[in-house]
């Protein structure tokens, strides 16, 4: 066989391989970073997941606005506690999903979910005046020239202001109790008729006390009652162990796969190895920069897409071998093998992509997470198998690295 060699192609091949290794190194390093890397779901990294349902009580209706405000209140509460990267989002018409991936400790989490209380202002005769739904703002203020102590200022919405005006008229000089669920948190005495919706709670407060009361009022201002549907708390240590083991096992599995590919397909196997490593960095990169969370079902999707990426390379190589056995030269076998493999890979991948799109649209939660990672995985796998494996094989042939069928594991 005539030896062809092209130093330019060899250079490009080497540069490409080096680039792949560098990008893989970065992608893996980045992914391993628990702070900045891929967002991990609580089933593999620990954290808190709570699903709440808003329930109608009395005159409080559950509508889009109520849910929006409830989310605001919960967000305030979570922010006060300084949890990183919280997700507080509506789900369906009447539900709220809370995800706190980065909990420092379990106590903190219990505190957060424990305080989903309702705020009510109650008159001395036990009649409800107004609820937290109508409280727009509560904050601590100081006016040393007028008052010696800090105070809490309240601001009601229009409906709240109307009711508060009536109540302050009715209960002038009497106490109004403020309840967070069943706990009385304050009982100021009415000293003025409040008509504009701006009220203040004064007392012999230290600054911290006033701030605490303002926080309680703010966080208690849930416009609707929330009921827990689902709550999952996984301690950070436990989650981290699962992730560590899964990562080690995946690495071992991947090395075995690469070894197998190289033993079976020789030089082509090495090329497939580079393609697969690049595929993985691409997936990790996509998971990192797209707004996704990696969960256990997501890992299932990832394993499937790795399988499909390997499969695409296997299909290509087997096709090339077939063509070689039918007597073609290595060059024409590579081209026609690719063209024949392409259709099989395309149809198989597109059919699976359709499944992921349907799952993404119709499902929620874990199944949706599965669909997202599988979608990303398939797109990356198609790209690397069809574009990268082909380019590397062509370059390897042009540069003279691959010279005969023996280099792709065919004995002729």
């Amino acid at each position: 066989m005539k030896k062809t060699s092209n130093p330019g192609s060899l250079l490009i091949l080497i540069v490409l391989c080096v680039l792949i290794i560098v990008s893989a190194y970065h992608a893996f390093q980045n992914a391993a970073d628990r702070e900045e890397g891929i967002r991990r779901g609580l089933d593999i990294a620990g954290g808190l997941y709570v699903l709440m349902e808003a329930v109608e009580t009395g005159d409080r209706e559950v509508d889009e606005d109520a849910i929006k405000r409830a989310i605001e209140v919960i967000r305030n509460r979570v922010d006060e506690l300084g949890v990183a990267e919280p997700v507080i989002a509506p789900q369906g018409d009447d539900r709220i999903r809370i995800e706190l991936p980065d909990l420092e400790d379990v106590e903190q989490a219990r505190e957060i979910i424990g305080r989903t209380a309702m705020l009510t202002f109650v008159g001395p005769d036990g009649e409800e005046i107004v609820t937290g739904a109508h409280l727009e703002r509560a904050r601590v203020e100081r006016q040393p020239e007028v008052l010696p102590h800090p105070f809490v200022s309240l601001e009601f919405d229009r409906e709240g202001a109307r009711r508060f005006a009536e109540a302050t008229q009715k209960y002038f000089g009497e106490p109004i109790a403020i309840y967070l669920d069943d706990t009385k948190i304050s009982e100021p005495v009415v000293r003025a008729v409040i008509t504009e919706g701006h009220a203040t709670i004064e007392g012999n407060f230290e600054f911290e006390e006033a701030a605490e009361l303002a926080l309680l009022l703010r966080s208690g201002a849930l416009p609707v009652e929330l009921r827990e549907l689902e709550s999952r708390l996984v301690g950070p240590t436990l989650g981290q162990r699962t992730e560590e083991i899964a990562a080690y096992a995946a690495a071992v599995g991947l090395i075995l796969v690469l070894l197998f590919m190289i033993l079976y397909y020789r030089l082509a196997g090495i090329i497939a190895g580079f393609a697969l490593v690049f595929y993985l960095s691409l997936v990790l990169w996509a998971l990192n920069y797209l707004p996704t969370t990696l969960t256990l079902p997501g890992i299932a999707g990832l394993i499937l897409s790795i399988g499909m990426a390997v499969d695409a390379n296997v299909i290509i190589f087997e096709r090339i071998k077939d063509e070689l056995r039918s007597g073609r030269t290595i060059r024409s076998a590579m081209e026609s093998g690719f063209n024949r493999a392409f259709r099989a890979i395309l149809d198989a991948n597109v059919t699976t992509l359709i499944v992921t799109v349907v799952l993404f649209i119709l499902a929620s939660g874990p199944v949706r997470g599965f669909a997202v990672t599988l979608f990303i995985g398939i797109v990356c796998s198609m790209f690397t198998a069809i574009v990268l494996t082909r380019a590397l094989l062509r370059l390897a042939f042009k540069s003279g690295v691959i010279q005969s069928g023996a280099y792709v594991g065919v004995k002729i």
């Binding site: 379990v106 709550s231 708390l233 162990r241 299932a300 299909i315 077939d322 099989a344 874990p366």
Partner: protein, 308 residues
């Protein structure tokens, strides 16, 4: 060349036996559904020292709702292979937050060695499980319709029928095996079943592609020859792909079993491994011959008409 088609009846018989056994078990014993489906509470602690079962039961005693709850002891290992503290898994009915907190406090009081962070508390209301099942079934149904449309468009309707039949065959067999084994299933299992679904589709379509291609090149209308040839041409690929996927899964199974000992994770990987076996088997032994049966039926009819 191996004569797969000549042996198709043996494969049909084997599959029929597996499906009947699976369906019987599903009808009689059902699946061992975990809290993700039925609702309930799972608590997992590491109590630090060796706690006897009596001590643990004493700690649970004041909680009436946990009467009849199951307590399981699990054992993991650290990365050096040294056994870690024994863990406890308590499974019971749904408990509201105050009760769960009270239980954790009770354990903290009794077992001072209990770590603060190494725990898992999951509580699921019954509504959620029903929704999950409904959603998964609906999505699968729509996904199947969409796939039938695509395969009919790219291949033909009969390919779609053969592919989907093989898919349902795989899912019934995997569900049946889990019913027979009575392993507890939760959300990760749903993901595993969907993965089996995806793997089977991919595996079958590639063989169907070979058949589609070989039909064009065939000399005379011998479909038996075409299908046999297509399966044989694709055989190395079927073996290599399933083998490499199994390598990754086996590594995961070993890791989860040996180091963590968590049943949910093991169930997840076992379902995937079963799926790879069944998926590879059905592409070769079920989907391809089934397509031939559909095709040949028409074929023999037209021949008979000609003879008449």
């Amino acid at each position: 060349m191996i004569d797969f088609i000549g042996n198709r009846r043996k494969a049909y018989l084997l599959s029929a036996a597996l499906i009947v056994a699976g369906l019987l078990s599903l009808a009689i014993f059902g699946l061992n559904l975990g809290i993700d489906f039925t609702g309930g509470t799972v608590l997992q602690f590491y109590v630090g020292e060796e706690a006897s079962l009596e001590e643990i039961e004493a700690a649970i005693e004041p909680f009436d709702e946990l009467e009849g709850a199951t307590v399981q002891v699990i054992q993991g290992r650290d990365l050096e292979g040294q056994p870690t503290d024994e863990g406890l898994i308590i499974r019971g009915p749904y408990m509201p937050q105050e009760r769960r907190d009270a239980l954790v406090d009770e354990f903290r009081d009794r077992f001072p060695g209990m770590t603060a962070d190494d725990l898992r508390i999951e509580s699921v209301g019954a509504v959620i499980g029903a929704e999950l099942t409904r959603q998964a079934l609906l999505s699968l149904f729509v996904a199947i319709l969409a796939m039938v449309a695509y395969i009919t468009f790219r291949f033909e309707f009969k390919f779609a029928v053969a592919t989907i039949t093989a898919l349902l065959h795989n899912i019934i067999i995997v569900l049946g095996i889990f019913s027979i084994l009575q392993m507890e299933i939760n959300v990760p299992f749903v993901a595993a079943i969907l993965t089996v679904f995806g793997y089977s589709v991919n595996d079958t379509i590639v063989i169907m592609d070979r058949i589609r291609e070989n039909i064009k090149h065939r000399k005379k209308g011998d479909y038996v020859e075409v299908v046999n040839q297509s399966i044989n041409q694709n055989l190395v690929r079927s073996i290599n792909t399933s083998l490499t996927t199994l390598l990754v899964l086996t590594a995961l199974l070993f890791g989860f079993h040996y180091f963590i000992g968590s049943l949910d994770l093991i169930v997840f990987v076992v379902a995937l491994i079963l799926g790879v076996f069944v998926g590879t088997y059905s592409s070769i032994f079920i989907a391809s011959p089934l397509w031939l049966n559909l095709q040949d039926y028409k074929f023999s009819l037209s021949r008979r008409r000609k003879a008449a």
